[in-house]
Symmetry: C2
Amino acid sequence: MTTKQIVLDSRPKGMPTLANFRFEDYELPDLQAGKVLLKGFYYSVDPYMRGRMSDAKSYVPPLQVGKPIEGSVIARVIESKTDSFTKNDLVMGMLPWSREFIAEGKGLQKIDSLDKHVSYHLGILGMTGLTAYFGLLDIGQPKSAETVVVSGAAGAVGMVVGQIAKIKGCHVIGIAGSEEKIKLLKEEFGFDGAINYKQAVDIKAAIAELCPDGVDIYFDNVGGEISDAVIANINKGARIIICGQISSYNDNKAATGIRPQSALLRKSALMQGFLVSNYISRFPEGVLQLSEWLSAGKLNYRETIIKGFERLPDAFISLFEGGNTGKMLVEIE
Amino acid sequence: MTTKQIVLDSRPKGMPTLANFRFEDYELPDLQAGKVLLKGFYYSVDPYMRGRMSDAKSYVPPLQVGKPIEGSVIARVIESKTDSFTKNDLVMGMLPWSREFIAEGKGLQKIDSLDKHVSYHLGILGMTGLTAYFGLLDIGQPKSAETVVVSGAAGAVGMVVGQIAKIKGCHVIGIAGSEEKIKLLKEEFGFDGAINYKQAVDIKAAIAELCPDGVDIYFDNVGGEISDAVIANINKGARIIICGQISSYNDNKAATGIRPQSALLRKSALMQGFLVSNYISRFPEGVLQLSEWLSAGKLNYRETIIKGFERLPDAFISLFEGGNTGKMLVEIE
C-alpha cells in the first residue's frame, strides 16, 4: 500500500517555510504482530514542534532531516495485529505526519469513538488543556481576587488559563494580536480585559491601567517585549509561569532584551519554566477536572480546524503568524 | 554635643563617587525619654544600599538627599533614657552614619558585649549569614551530590553559601574576581573549584569543565554575563536563587542581555528573587544553626575591616570594585 507522508526536508533557519517540508510517497511494509495500521484523522500543530525542527538540544529530541514530522495525532485503526485494538477504534499518540501509517500498539491511547468531541483530546482534554491546568494551578497558585495576566491569551493554552483563573475568582487580563481575538477573550471567555499588543502604543501602560492592583500571576506563552511590559507591573511575591516563548522560537540565537532578574529580586518574585510532561502522574486528575468544568459549561473552547492533509505545513507555519484562535488542528476526511 | 554625620549629598548616577557623600557637623538634641544616646562602633556597608541611594521604587524606601545615610550599625550606649538599655550596652539596628546619634530604644537589638566576635552580628550571624542560609536552603533545596555554583563567591553572602552547600554534601564551585579570592575559596572555604571571571577566556566552558554533571543550583549575587555563562550549564529542574545583581546596581537603566526564559523553559528550571526579610519569623532558627556550625568549626568566616569613620564612603564604593573579601565593615575606635 502506497501512502503520502510529510518529511522534514531541511531544518528551518528562522521562520519555517514550505520549503522545509517535503511530501513524499511511501510504501507501507506488511503489518507485523503487535502493530496496527492507522489512518490519520486529526493532526495537532503546536508551537513546541518548532524546537524539534532544530538540532539544538531541547526537552524533546530533534526530528531527523529526511524523516517524517511527528506530532500528536488521532487516527482510526484500519487493521490491527494486537489484542488491544480492533478495526475502527480511535487512538491517539505521538505519530508521523502520514496519511496512513503503522504504529506499535503500545504507546497508543484509545479514545471513545462515540465521544462528541474527539478532537478535544488533542486540546482542552489533552496536552494544551493540561498545560494550562498544571501551569496555572500548580506553579501560579492563584488566590481569589488576585490579578492574572496571560500572553498568547487566544491560543490553545492561553484561553484555558484565563478561564480557569476566572473559575478561581481572579481578575484576568489577556494579551493577543487582533481585535477579533480581543473581542473573543472578553465576550466568550470571560476575561475582564484584553490588550491588542499590535495596536497598543504602550503595552506597559495598558497593563497598568487594566491591572490597577498590579500583576500577581503572569502566564507567559510569548516572551520578548510583551513580557517586559508585564514584568514591569508585577507585585511583590508574583509568580511568572514560563510556558512558551513563541516570540523567540524562530530566532537563530538566544533572545536578548531586558534581563528580568532585577525585577524578580525587587519583588521577591518567582519565574518557573515548566513542561506538562513533568505532571504525567497527575494527568488523570487534570483531565477529570477539565471535563467536569466543560460539562458544567464553566469552560468554553475554540478550535481552528483546517481541512486537508496537504495543508499541514501551512497550518503549522501560521501558528507563528497568529493564524490560530484557540487550538489549531488539521482534519483529514 | 556636636558630632559628625555623613549625608547623601546627591544621588549617584551610575557608580557612586565620593562627591555623592558629604560630611557635616551636627548638633545632637537633648536626650528625651524612651531614647538612647549611642556611639557608633561597627558600620556595615552592603551592596543593597546602592538601591536606596536612587529614588526608584525598590524593596526599601529611598534615602533622602541631605539626610544621613542609614545602614546596619553596632553601637555602644553612652546614655540611656529607657528601661531596656544601660550605659556600655552594645546594640544593633538600622542607624545613621553618624559618630554619635540618638535612637529610639525600640528597634534596637541588644548584643552580648562579652561576645568574642561582636562584629559577626553584622555578617555571618546577621543579615548576610541569614541571606545565605535561607536562600540556599529554602529556595535552593540542595541535595547531597548536587552541583552548586555561587557568584560573588568571596563576598559576605557567597562564602557562607558555599560552605553551607559543602555541609550539605554538594559539589561547590565559586566565581570571584581575583587570584587571591580564588585561593581563599579553595583553601579556606573548602570550595571544590573556583573561577576567576576576570581571567577566564570562556566562563561558560570553565563552568562546564568544573561542573561535569551540570549545575543544579545557582546562587546569584552578581547577574550579567557571569549569570549567562552559568545558566548555559543548568540541569533539568535547576534552582536559580536571585540574591543580588551587583553587576547592574550602578546601571542607569534596566540591564539587557540574554533573556533567561528560554533556558528556564527548556530545563523546567526555577528562578526566584528573594529578600532575607521574607524570613524574619525564622531568623532565630537560622542564627542558631549558623552559630552551631561556627562553634563546631564547620564554617570559616572572613571580614574586611576598614578603620575610621571618615572612610565609610570609600569602603562602600569599593564594594563595587571587588574591594572586599568576605563581609566589609568600618570600625570606629
